[in-house]
Amino acid sequence: MTEETTAMPLSETGSGSERERRSPIEWLRDQREHRAHLFLLAIMLLASIAVIDFRTWLVLTISGVAMGAVLFLMASGMTLTFGLMSVLNLAHGAFISLGAFAGGTVLAFWLDGFASSPSFLTNLVAIIPALLFAAFIAGVVGLVFEKLVIKPVYGDHLKQILVTVGGSIILMQLIEVIWGPNEIPVTRPEALQGAFLVPEALPLIGGIVLEKYRLVAVVLGLAIYAGMLWIIDRTRIGILIRAGVESREMVEIQGYRIHLLFLGVFIAGSALAGLGGVMWGMYKELLTPHMGDEMMISVIVVIILGGLGSIRGCFYGALLVGLINLYIGFVEPRLAAVATVGLMVGVLMWRPQGLIPVIKV
C-alpha cells in the first residue's frame, strides 16, 4: 500500500481547461441529445421529399401538419394530466366525444344560422361559442369525473386504467342517453368548407390546394401550444404542479392545497379534450359517442412519442404521427397504422423515455 499522503492540488485549472477543450464536441452531442424531435422531423421531411413528387409532397405535408395540429389538440389534455398529475386517463377519448357533441350542438342546433353563413366572421360567432361551450362542458364533467372517479386512485396507474376505462364506458353511455343513439350529422361552418386553390401561374406551388379547415386547425393548435408552454415553464403554478407529481405530501407540507391544483389541471385537461373534440367533430362531420375513443391509439402513440407528459414532446409527436400517416398513406395506405406503431417502437428503442423525457421510470 502506498504510505505517503498524496495531497493533490485542489485547483480546478487542469480539469477546467480540459472541459473547455472538449466542450464543442459535447455541445454537439448535447444538441443531438436535446433536439431528438427536430432531428427526427428533419429526417422524415427529407426522406419523404426524396420519393414523392414535390407538389404532392407539399399538399401531404401541409395536410399532415394540420392533422398533427388536431391530434395535438386531442392529445395535449391527456399529456397534461399525465405529465402534471401522473394520471393516465383512458377516458380521455370519451371527453373528446363529449366535446364534439357539445360543440356540435352549438354548431348544428343553437347557432346554425351563423354557421351556415358564407362569411368567416359570421361563422366565428358560431365557432367560438362552440369551442368555448365544448371546453366548458368537458371541463365541468371533468370536475365531476375527477371527484367521483379519479380522486380515489391517485398514484396508482393500474387502477387509473381500470376506473377510467369504466368511466369512459359510463360517459359514452351518458352521451347516448342525452343525445340519443343516432349518429348526429354536423356540417362544417360554411367558410371552413372547401379549399384555397393556389393559382396555377405561381412557380413550384402553383395548382396545389390548401384546405381552409386545416389552416384554421394549424392556427388553433399553435395558439394552444404556445399558451400551454408559457404556463408550464414560466409560472409558479407550473412548478407547483410538477412538484405535485413527485410528492403530494411534500407539496402540502410547503403549504399548498394540492388537491385544488390537481383538480384544476384535470379540468384543464378535460377542457382541452373538449376543444380537440370540436375540431375533430368538425372534421368528421358526423358525431358518434365512440368517435373520441377511436382516436385513443393515435393519442397514446403521440404522447408516448413525446415522452409522456412533455407538452413540447406531445406537439412534435403529433406532428410526426400526422406526417407519417400522410406519407405512408400515400405510398402504401395499408401500412399506415403499422407504420405509426413502428415509428413509436423505433423511437423508444432509441430513446426509451420518448423524445423529450420528463418522467423517470
Binding site: 500500500m1 502506498t2 504510505e3 505517503e4 499522503t5 498524496t6 495531497a7 493533490m8 485542489l10 480546478e12 480539469s15 472541459r19 459535447e26 448535447d30
Partner: protein, 262 residues
C-alpha cells in the same frame, strides 16, 4: 503487502454526468484483510464511486478489477455474483416483504437457487435458518416477521447490512451504515464490521462522516474531493493533513470533536 495482488482495484475510474465529472480518474487498490475509510465532503463522489464499482452506474472511462479480472462490462447482478457486496446509503429494501424474507432472498441469491420453481420455498429450512442467523447478527431477530415498511429507520439500516452479510461477499461496501442510527445501536454495527475485519480475508470499504468511527476502525483513509482522490494514507496522517482539515472538517482540530462527532 503491496506486492500481493490487490483484491479490488479501480483504474482511472471516471464518470461524467453531462459535463459534471462526479468521479475523476480515480485509481486505487484494496487488499485482503484491510478496512479502508473513504471520506470527503458531501457531493465529493463517494457514493458515485461505489456505484461505479458495484455496477449501478456505467463508467465513462476506466476499469474495475476484482482479483485481476476485469468487471467493467458486467452488470450489477454479475458483479454481486462475483463477490462485490453493497449496502446502500439511502435505504433500499423490499418494503412489502418481511425482514426475514428480505434476508432469505439474499441467501437464495448467494446459493443460486432463484430459478428453482418446483420446490416450495418454505420447505427450504436451510435458507430460513441461515437468514435468521444473519438477522441475529444485526440484532434484528425479534423483528423477523415484520414488514420492512413498518420498521423504524434504524432497523432498516441494520437490515441493509444483514442483506450484504447474507451475500457472503469478498468485498464489503458500507455507505454510511450508522447514519440516523440511535447511539445505542451504533456499536452493533461497528462490532459487526470489526468482526468481518477479523476474518482477515475480506476487503472492507466504508464511507462514513463520523470521524471517531473512522479513526477507530480504519487501516487506511482515502479522501475524495470534487471527484478526485486527493489523499490516501494512514488515518492519523490523513486526518491531520491540511486538505482534510480545511475541506472536510472545516474547523481547527480542537473544535471538531465538539459537535461533529456522534
Amino acid at each position: 503487502m503491496s506486492s500481493e495482488q490487490a483484491v479490488l482495484e479501480t483504474r482511472d475510474l471516471t464518470i461524467n454526468f453531462g459535463g459534471h465529472v462526479a468521479v475523476n480518474r480515480v485509481s486505487c487498490q484494496f487488499h485482503k484483510g484491510t478496512l479502508t475509510s473513504i471520506v470527503g465532503p458531501n457531493g465529493a463522489g463517494k457514493t458515485t464511486w461505489f456505484n461505479l464499482i458495484s455496477g449501478q452506474l456505467k463508467a465513462t472511462a476506466g476499469q474495475v478489477l476484482l482479483n485481476g479480472e476485469d468487471l467493467t462490462g458486467l452488470t450489477a447482478a454479475r458483479r454481486a455474483d462475483k463477490g462485490l457486496g453493497r449496502a446502500f446509503q439511502l435505504t433500499n429494501l423490499f418494503p412489502n416483504l418481511t425482514a426475514l424474507e428480505n434476508v432469505r432472498l439474499a441467501v437464495a441469491a448467494r446459493h443460486h437457487i432463484g430459478h428453482v420453481f418446483w420446490q416450495m420455498a418454505s420447505h427450504r429450512r436451510d435458507l430460513t435458518d441461515r437468514a435468521m442467523e444473519y438477522l441475529t447478527r444485526v440484532n434484528l431477530a425479534n423483528r423477523a416477521g415484520y414488514l420492512v415498511s413498518g420498521l423504524p429507520h434504524g432497523d432498516q439500516r441494520k437490515l441493509e447490512v444483514a442483506l450484504m452479510l447474507a451475500l457472503e461477499p469478498e468485498v464489503f461496501m458500507f455507505d454510511e451504515p450508522t447514519a440516523g442510527m440511535s447511539v445505542d445501536e451504533v456499536p452493533v454495527i461497528l462490532d459487526l464490521i470489526a468482526d468481518i475485519k477479523k476474518q482477515q480475508d475480506k476487503v472492507i470499504l466504508l464511507v462514513e462522516h463520523k470521524m471517531d468511527v473512522v479513526r477507530s476502525l480504519s487501516d487506511r483513509i482515502v479522501v475524495l474531493h470534487n471527484g478526485e482522490l486527493v489523499a490516501d494514507g494512514e488515518p492519523a496522517e490523513v486526518i491531520a493533513s491540511p486538505v482534510v482539515q480545511e475541506a472536510y472538517l472545516g474547523a481547527s482540530p480542537d473544535q471538531q470533536p465538539e459537535v461533529a462527532h456522534g
